[in-house]
Subunit: 444 residues, 2 copies
């Protein structure tokens, strides 16, 4: 009899797992359950959908349920997984359309339940006009609100990548935008000196940036009109709460599955949990940092896809591993690009790593080319062996993707010496004759 | 008494050598002789100067003679080196302004004499309207001709990077453009399948592309009107000859300095020639290919700067080495970007390397983003150990700079396996969730 794979979750990790499992084992019975109405969508595209860069939500869908069906992958939407019974290899499910409870059995189970926006207890968070952004449903609600209520003053709470991308989209919708960040600087996964360049840029574009500012709650009659902070009230008739996510690990924990850092489901590099035949992948799962070796929770679409692929392969009887991440990230806000990989100075200090950091400012292309703009690069190396362990880039057009060559170098455990004469591409529209990365390497 | 360094050549390698030598030894007497009127200019910027992207030739100058003088680097322009007398450590020079011959003595000599356009014997190459492009002087002549003669039909002979960049500039000047290439395809340092994508693109933009077409000469009354080829005549009232360069190695050869491949001055990784205290660097010198280990002649601005820097350091008593190149190259023509690094399939065959090549077509960014365009990537790996040895990219905006992450990986001798899970940057304006490079790596 064919083996049966159940997957909880139908976005990046879940659907990658399903697709890979099918390729490995054409006979496997594969069923995906998701409480969402949409599957296989690009969550990272939602700010651009809201900003109106494209108008069809279908554009966000990588592959439809029909396409999966053609591969004999059954996708059941609007169904929530309620309980995992590991002893009987059963999951209990609830159909959200009619509240009917039923169960299904598995030989292998992949938990790809994702994450949900973190919303701490705050007065007035139920007011109209206060949103989080995680699903297509959220984005449609926000679009609808922007269209019908035409808010004038938008507050984005949380100055991470999604906060910045939404700031851009809200500016494009004609809003005045404030970013409110509890930490001492925006983009908390970068160092302050780099983040401040972005702050200056945002302010030059009319964005108000409040840092070291804690939100206590919201006020308004039905609709939000004010964000109340420890520094005083900030007017806002639209609020996006974007202060991070929590892994959906509870269903696993109730089943006796071990959780790791920040409540994410602990997996090894085969995506196995501590219970046989149960795998986890994506935003509900931990991963490992390739430099520190530590368990980390850095939910990213790319990692979800890779973990899902590995989980799918292994659940289908294959031998895949996913070794971990560098914490690579990139974002654009208006014309300013931001990227990072590896460890920041702050992370080095927290880990007790003795490091050298060097920072340069240069042009991203030949100075006489229109595409040329300011680029700031910080490189961080281990002091003992000058092995590169981190990089951060902030700059105008064409700056940020240079992070990939540094991610590749760090993956290969390159030292500054290994890289200093690298034969990088040069042509005036793309770079100066000394690429800014080489200039930065030459500082060590 | 202070040691004396003479440098022949005042562009990338020569001036990099001078600047580095000064930093290493503040006391060194440094004199640069050049037969050009301009120094320290960005030769690769000339097509953009001609295209009118900027109007001041001063923008091409990285540093002026005055700036060098402030560092006690004496720059003498309009003076041609005629002879090197190694036994007496003397060079014979001619002042081109008054034909006066004089000599100067050195403790160390760096030959950074550059290269000159290759112009084979062809009838009519002296006609007005037939140009080569190497110096600022050339570019001023071309600009002047375009401005006053307003040519209608431009022929670019040679479909390499400069030919393509000039095709773009000539289109912007309103010319009809033909590219005439003797080889079976344009961009001879890429494989045919990749080059054909660019050919199709150029044709879609109205450029006529003639391949396998040998130019015999030119005809016209005073001004050129026709390019005569083995496939018949092609109308043209402007012709750019851009079929490669020849290293200026003759002065070295006459002094008993050993030449290497293609007549370039043979240097070791310290930039030393076979004669003590004589170094060479830049477009007149050989270098080593980091993958094949073979001596190669791949004149590039980047390499000239790096070799110049190493030569300058060593000539000033330091200990620098420059290990070699990957043959990395990049260019843009209109909106199509082209890049390559390492070995092509053809080069692998010539070297007898048993390789695997994989090619993919993808989107350069999330498909719903305006910046997304077609990207084609070819990766080449050694069949024995799947070590990456070459990459070629052709695609629209944001495609080509991905070559640097592959150059970095190849520098580190990465295998496909090392790279397949690389934590690359993802955000919709920059890439799809599976970066095209990862998609290509997944084909192996």
């Amino acid at each position: 009899m064919a083996q049966k794979l159940l997957i909880i979750g139908g976005v990046a990790a879940g659907m990658s797992a399903a697709a890979k499992a099918r390729r490995v084992d054409p006979e496997l019975e594969i069923t995906v359950y998701t409480d969402d109405e949409y599957i296989s969508y690009a969550g990272c595209g939602l700010p651009y959908f809201i900003g109106g860069r494209f108008t069809e939500k279908a554009s966000l869908i990588a592959r439809t349920a029909e396409e999966f069906a053609a591969q004999k992958i059954i996708v059941k939407t609007g169904i929530r997984a309620e309980e995992i019974k590991a002893d009987t290899k059963t999951i209990v499910l609830k159909d959200l359309k009619n509240d009917q409870v039923f169960s299904d059995q598995y030989d292998r189970l992949i938990i790809a339940a994702g994450a949900r926006p973190f919303v701490p207890p705050m007065d007035g968070s139920e007011l109209k006009g206060v949103f989080t952004l995680r699903t297509i449903h959220d984005s449609l609600n926000i679009k609808d609100y922007l269209h019908h209520q035409k808010p004038v003053k938008a507050a984005v709470i949380g100055g991470g990548y999604i906060g910045l991308e939404m700031a851009e989209s809200l500016l494009e919708q004609g809003c005045e935008v404030s970013i409110i960040e509890r930490a001492p600087h925006i983009i908390p996964n970068m160092d302050e000196d780099m983040a401040l360049i972005v702050t200056d840029y945002l302010q030059s574009k009319g964005v108000k940036v409040y840092t070291d500012t804690a939100v206590a709650g919201f006020s308004g009659e039905q609709r939000v009109t004010m964000v109340n902070t420890d520094k005083g009230p900030i007017e806002a008739d639209f609020v996006l709460l974007s202060i991070g996510v929590l892994p959906n690990g509870e269903i696993a924990a109730r089943a006796g599955i071990e959780l790791g850092i920040r409540g994410a489901i602990r997996v090894n590099d085969r995506m196995e949990t501590n219970i046989k035949d149960i795998f986890a992948a994506g935003d509900c799962a931990t991963t490992r940092h390739l430099i520190s070796g530590e368990e980390v929770y850095i939910p990213m679409g790319t990692t979800a896809n890779k973990q899902g692929k590995a989980a799918g392969e292994n659940a289908a009887g294959g031998q895949a591993s996913f070794k971990g991440v560098l914490g690579t990230g990139i974002a654009r806000v208006i014309e300013m690009e931001i990227s990072r990989t590896g460890l920041s100075e702050r992370e080095c200090r927290q880990l007790g790593i003795d490091y050298i950091a060097k920072k340069i400012k240069a042009n991203s292309a030949a100075h006489y080319c229109p595409a040329s703009g300011e680029i700031h690069i910080k490189l961080i190396a281990d002091r003992r062996d000058k092995r590169l362990i981190g990089a951060q880039i902030v700059g105008l057009q064409g700056s940020a993707m240079r992070i990939d060559m540094l991610a590749s170098a760090i993956t290969m455990q390159a030292t500054v010496e290994d890289l200093i004469d690298m034969d990088l591409a040069y042509s005036p529209p793309f770079s100066p004759v000394w690429d800014p990365v080489l200039v930065a390497l030459n500082q060590f």
